[in-house]
Symmetry: D2
Subunit: 337 residues, 4 copies
């Protein structure tokens, strides 16, 4: 930790900081400049709350030196992580596509979805079984029955399954039916859920919260990696900004930033990232061009009548056309789909 | 619902929208202007997803007319709601102050806290028993034992208790020990939790998420009011913006906005709103001056050694001095503490 | 204009709104629903300030129907605009690349730059001659001498020139030496400057301000198009958000949004969009994949010693490699470089 | 400057950074920790672009130690600056109120305005003479004639005058008619204008841009203080965030933040900060309660027919009532109006 004292900080103020740091086990090195004194704190607890120092009298600013995340950091695995599920690899030279409807609605819909998904060339089918929605009057999902239907449909077309877990009590159920458990953006900092997911041995896809920095996303990943589950996929799905033509601002630059800071694979979700079907193809292409390890997107056989997220679900033909473009772009960046 | 068609929208496009709306039970009125055709949809499901219409061909924009929230709207109770707990009223002419440490740390600390809180004149003591933290290595709270300690300390000083519920399974426990259940900012859209809280008959304080608009806050309130629990207090605690000197940007204007749109009381939390002890007094004063129905803030007998949130906890003397200022400001706006 | 009255708005409130609208020449149609009365205002001044209505008693919300921009709207030229300068076309099937240093530093540097730019295949050279910087002590640009040097270097390599105009008094000078005049992000709403640029007949590239919505960008374009200058290129260069690993958040989705709402060409600037050289290649690729009509980026023969913006300037080899990737991606979206 | 190297940075990478810093005159101190090497750079140019270092290979992060602003920093004048104009002092124990219409519209209006302003107890009248507006079809201001009218009206009621300067060429005109020159939010980083204003000897009020941090505001103040003009008043007027019920988010916390970091007086502008008349009184009260040195607000004898900004202009009675409240609140924080 580096503590920069204000210009004119008194010796008593400096001593108080030094004392406080030593209390928590830090060795303190002092460097007196013409204008500012800088204190370097070494050792001490890694999760020490630097905020306590930053509001003490005479302090100008405090910088952590050691990243608060270690297991998620690039340095932990410089060559990058590859998550293997059956014969699908996420994080290597392939761009993995996950596609499907927002919700599992009924058997017919999910069977048709599996056909569409497989036909377009995606390897993983998405679909939600638990849909606690912003309106209490909206469709809330089919629960376990929906998971069964999706598993059957996916198996028939040899697809993997990804589905969202909303609560720790649902973990066994989701783990039984799906290959990847998704943590939604609103749960990115639901630490109870993260801790429980750290105990299982199934891949997890963690979505960035709409108000979370990339560093906070990595901290959440660290949270359950520290429990021993290292099969983590990250997902950029849009952040909240003042621009409101799109529902969120899809932060494409988060893709190379994650790849610089972490060894974990990063997937782009242009459906939630934009909230508008007419923006999904261009943003899916952008994500692949930026180097994403995968794309997750919503496609529906009849988006105008989808039970949820119809506005951002692609028509089947749009999806097929887009997959063709993504293949070309993947090639341009040295990958393949 | 009002659907504004693009300049040059074709008759076929218009007919398709009309048909889609009628399918869902809307009566459609058409008004053809020189430049734009406007369709008014009346009736239909209140939770109809207008997004589906907004991405259809030829549509310029769609506006909901009827608010997606009803029970939380000012029109539902134009005179404003007053939540009564014992002899404390929240929402009337009093400015209610809630104060206390971030976490219950041990018996001695919480007893001292109760003394400080009561001495300053606050009526309600705050304190957390479950602290799932961003670092998995940090203090995680004392759980039920902490709640017992806080209840005892509060009772001794005749204070009410507010404490945070993190998960639906904790509801009975929290309901047993505290007078108000707090929903944290990260759980503002945890609909599973909101639904369960709608079933109990205890006052709840709902905090605004860091990326949530005021309208979304009201939608979340609606969520559990629809379950029958009308004793809801709202809380502004800062939003995420590009300014990073403060941890969040404390959106003081949310206070009058909530009071215009809703009948529910609104409380300001300058501790989380700024994240810095040196900014808390000015922001607490601002919130009261803006008309807040209450203030919740962190105070600790020894902030430099608090187990959590020390940086934003007031020293006891700061808290006493601030309470004096708040009394004067409350008077200036026709209220009292 | 559509005025939605609040639930329970009184007849007197409604009459007051009707009267106010009629004063300004609007015909008013009234539609009374079960819950809300809606007033439709037709005619009246296009620049009528709807804010005045929105704060009147009893008003819930006001929606403009007619876009505040007309000349910049897609409907004005549905097939899209192509700006022709010599044999370069911006807005058609080509992706036009503009590259060069942030500032013109001296003759040697700008001559070397021209060689690098031309070698990579860009058609337009960028370079600034006026650099009023955030620090008053930094390099402020070479002025006219710099423009002369850049023109000479560009002519030698048959490149077009784009350079920024900071103030209306500089217009004749910039118009004499460059083929496209750039309006910087900070001047996007400098209406004095916009008005003067509306009077000349040179192409202008207008950069989006860091706090401007796409709609506001189009309004600024309208500003000088209303003066008769229709040769406008728009440029996305990053918006200000809470994420601060990158200097700005490069809003790639602005590219398809502009293309939906407007007929004007849109160019991406990944250099300012990210502020970091290591993020520029991925974001340049993303912009082309998203359908951008062009890319503007900074390249320098020795970025570590550039007088300005060195951190976001590419090394020549990075630029060459990137151009190769961009050519492949352009093909994938049906264009060429 | 502190340069923190990445975990695993090579000796060659470290040497390259050291070399680059020494080139620019820095002395470099090296401190090798178990995980990270930290380089401290002392001396060198104060405006050295640290970005160049931050993108070099092996660098984790770079922190400036010395503030980029000196003259605007609190340390330069720890007791705080007081700007004296006639018998008005800004920055001391008084809360100075500036009020008046958005634009000077005609003689009758500005005379009535002067009466209203004076009656309420404000000492300074505001009013704009140059109004380059977002719509090219809107009222553009009366120019010099408007300034003459305002000066005459203000003199009759013994009020000071503040008015906005849009362009360097207008400086002599504005300086002739007004006591304080205002720099609008859009011009906060118009460095040409700032430099010219640094040469005159009239007080200037600098408004924070909607996407500017407080630190950037101070940097802009530094810009013209470095020219010798030390009579600077800062103004918070709202920042751009995702919340759009209000036009901007009025960042009340900027007031104590400025007072901590700088010695310059800070004024709040709740009219532009909210954009809505119904939110102005509560936000004006909040700003005074937070410790603002002044308030600037719009008041009009007939806001529903104001030529500009009618939606955010107070009715005279609202203004009178508000002034009464502000006096009480000022007292509560140890000041007076």
């Amino acid at each position: 930790m580096l503590v920069v004292m204000q210009e004119g900080a008194t010796e008593a103020q400096i001593q108080k900081i030094v004392g406080r740091l030593m209390e928590d086990g830090f060795d303190v090195h002092r460097s007196s400049g013409v204008v500012h004194t800088v204190l370097g704190g070494v050792g001490g607890k890694s999760h020490f709350d630097t905020g306590i120092i930053s509001v003490m009298d005479g302090v100008k600013e405090v910088h952590r030196i050691v990243s608060p995340y270690k297991l998620a950091a690039r340095a932990f695995k410089p060559e990058g992580s590859i998550i293997k599920i059956g014969d699908v690899e996420i994080g290597g030279d392939k761009v993995v596509v996950m596609a499907g409807p927002c919700s599992v609605e009924n058997r017919d819909q999910i069977e048709r979805s599996a056909d569409i998904v497989a036909e377009g060339g995606a390897k993983i089918m998405r679909g939600g079984a638990f849909k606690p929605r912003s309106s209490p009057y909206s469709f809330q999902g089919l629960g376990e029955e929906g998971l069964q239907m999706m598993r059957a449909a996916a198996d028939r077309r040899r697809l993997l399954v990804i589905s969202e877990v909303m609560d720790a009590v649902q973990i066994p159920l989701l783990a039984a039916y799906s290959d990847i458990l998704q943590i939604g953006a609103r749960n990115m900092q639901n630490f109870t859920l993260l801790r429980e997911l750290g105990k299982i041995r199934k891949p997890v896809m963690l979505k960035r919260g709409p108000a979370a920095t990339v560093e906070e996303l990595l901290l959440s990943a660290e949270y359950f990696m520290s429990g021993g589950n290292y099969d983590v996929i990250l997902c950029e799905r849009g952040i909240r900004t003042f621009e409101n033509y799109t529902r969120n601002t899809f932060d494409v630059s988060a893709i190379p930033v994650v790849q610089k800071l972490s060894h974990l694979p990063i997937v782009g979700d242009p459906s939630h990232g934009t909230g508008r079907r007419d923006m999904v193809p261009s943003m899916a292409r952008a994500a692949v061009a930026a180097g994403a390890d995968g794309i997750i997107m919503e496609v529906h056989h009849d988006p105008d009548h989808a039970f949820s997220d119809g506005a951002q679900s692609l028509f089947p033909e749009q999806y097929y056309e887009l997959m063709g473009q993504l293949r070309l772009i993947a090639t341009a960046v040295g990958k393949s789909i």
